[in-house]
């Protein structure tokens, strides 16, 4: 399968470029030669059934796992070659990365310290304000609802202004109002020229954000390229692929 064509100027490397990514777990192959190129202002929706390799792909793109073969370049540099390359990435996984016994503000302040932000307390306040949770800053995370935790987790992922955002099911557990707020937040990030990779098997909310759509089945692209057609077309193609 070929990677999507981009409008990125040749002189500048794409924000994220994955080439021939393969990942094996023993004899099982989770990913089989996946290519992905993400340019500024692009949002790549990666859909697929459970076990298709979506989360594995995100972990490889984030540098949390190593590919069995293939490469990941962030702005032209190998990912994880140096710690600072990881600064360009923000990851929202299906786990929140938060500590239950710390408050929302303390969690974000800790993250801000890890990323060396100059004023961690101010960064945490700004993050919580963007998530609409300023009034819950002093509540321990364990007391927040599932949707609120998801919003704090998104604020954590965005805290350091990453140029590439990797999002695993960002709308899970959110009520319609929160989902709309998160969608607006992500749309704003896209407008700022950030590249988004959005993994989901529930594509309705994500489709509006996407500029590119991909369907991952058994570790390989079944559909890949710039968004073309309607959501119904994509879902029809999805069903066709799954039905064999």
């Amino acid at each position: 399968m070929s990677s999507p064509r981009l409008s990125t100027p040749l002189a500048e490397p794409p924000l994220l470029q994955a080439a021939a990514l393969t990942r094996r777990f023993g004899s099982a192959r989770a990913l089989a030669g996946v290519d992905l190129t993400v340019g500024p202002g692009e949002c790549h929706l990666v859909a697929g059934p459970n076990g298709a390799g979506k989360s594995t792909l995100l972990r490889l793109l984030a540098g949390l796992a190593r590919p069995s073969s293939g490469t990941v370049l962030l702005e032209g540099r190998p990912l994880a070659a140096e710690p600072f390359t990881r600064r360009a990435v923000g990851l929202l996984s299906h786990q929140s990365h938060l500590y239950d016994d710390l408050t929302s503000a303390e969690n974000l302040e800790f993250a801000a310290r890890l990323y060396g932000l100059p004023d961690p307390a101010a960064a945490a306040r700004a993050g919580l304000a963007s998530a609409g949770l300023s009034d819950r800053a002093d509540d321990p995370v364990r007391r927040l609802s599932r949707g609120m935790v998801q919003r704090v987790a998104i604020a954590r992922a965005l805290l350091h202004g990453p140029r590439v955002l990797l999002l695993d099911e960002p709308f899970t557990g959110l009520d319609p109002q929160s989902a709309a707020r998160v969608a607006a937040l992500l749309e704003a990030q896209r407008g700022l020229g950030r590249g988004l990779v959005l993994v989901s098997h529930e594509v309705h909310e994500s489709w509006k954000l996407a500029t590119h759509s991909h369907l991952l089945v058994r570790g390989a692209w079944a559909v890949t390229g710039p968004k073309n057609g309607t959501l119904d077309d994509f879902l029809r193609r999805y069903r066709e692929v799954l039905d064999g």
Binding site: G63, R66, A80, D101, L102, R113, G116
Partner: protein, 226 residues
Amino acid sequence: MGDFLRVAIAVAAKDLRVERRSKTALVSAMAFAALVLMIFNFARDAAALSREMLAPSALWITFAFSGVIALNRSFALEREHGALDGLLLAPVSRGALFFGKYLANLTFVLTVEAVALPLFVLFFGVDLSGALGGIVVTAILATAGFVAVGTVFAAMTVRTRFAELMLPLLVLPFLLPPVIGGVQITARLLAGRPMSEIAGWLRILALYDLVFVTLCLLLFPSLMDE
């Protein structure tokens, strides 16, 4: 170096804050230490073994086992909600993460030991007046090394299904040198032996610290990269 320490201090402060709120590791380790001392005290055959003979071993076995319990919590909290991934994603050296966890664990274990020591005096009726300083120095030296080893093994086992079981099995063999050293020094201190009899053991403990803290600092990054 500035970044290294900044990150290490941030990680240690976060761990201590979480523990201050939850008290999970400290309370369980302190309760365990009290129980071990109590069992040693009451299980001793008074006719066969004097308190003075048993006291150094009881103290160091208590330190070692309660220390392992405190270490178990160290990375367990990073497992909840994938917080470990959050640490590994940050643009910081893995060595700084290790050092932060190490500082926090050292504080936990030394706190547990600080609580266990008065209980030891209570149960065993030993007079520490001339030996307290020496025992404190020995405890710090012995703990510094085994906490480094424990921190690395806690990180190794955190992603396994049986982390709580695996950690003691892996760490306890490495605890032998500091425990033997601690017992030997404590026995001599309690018996009022001269410093010259202790100096050699103190040097062994210091060497153990130097070797294992350095090794752990070097090994930790590759352990975290899958």
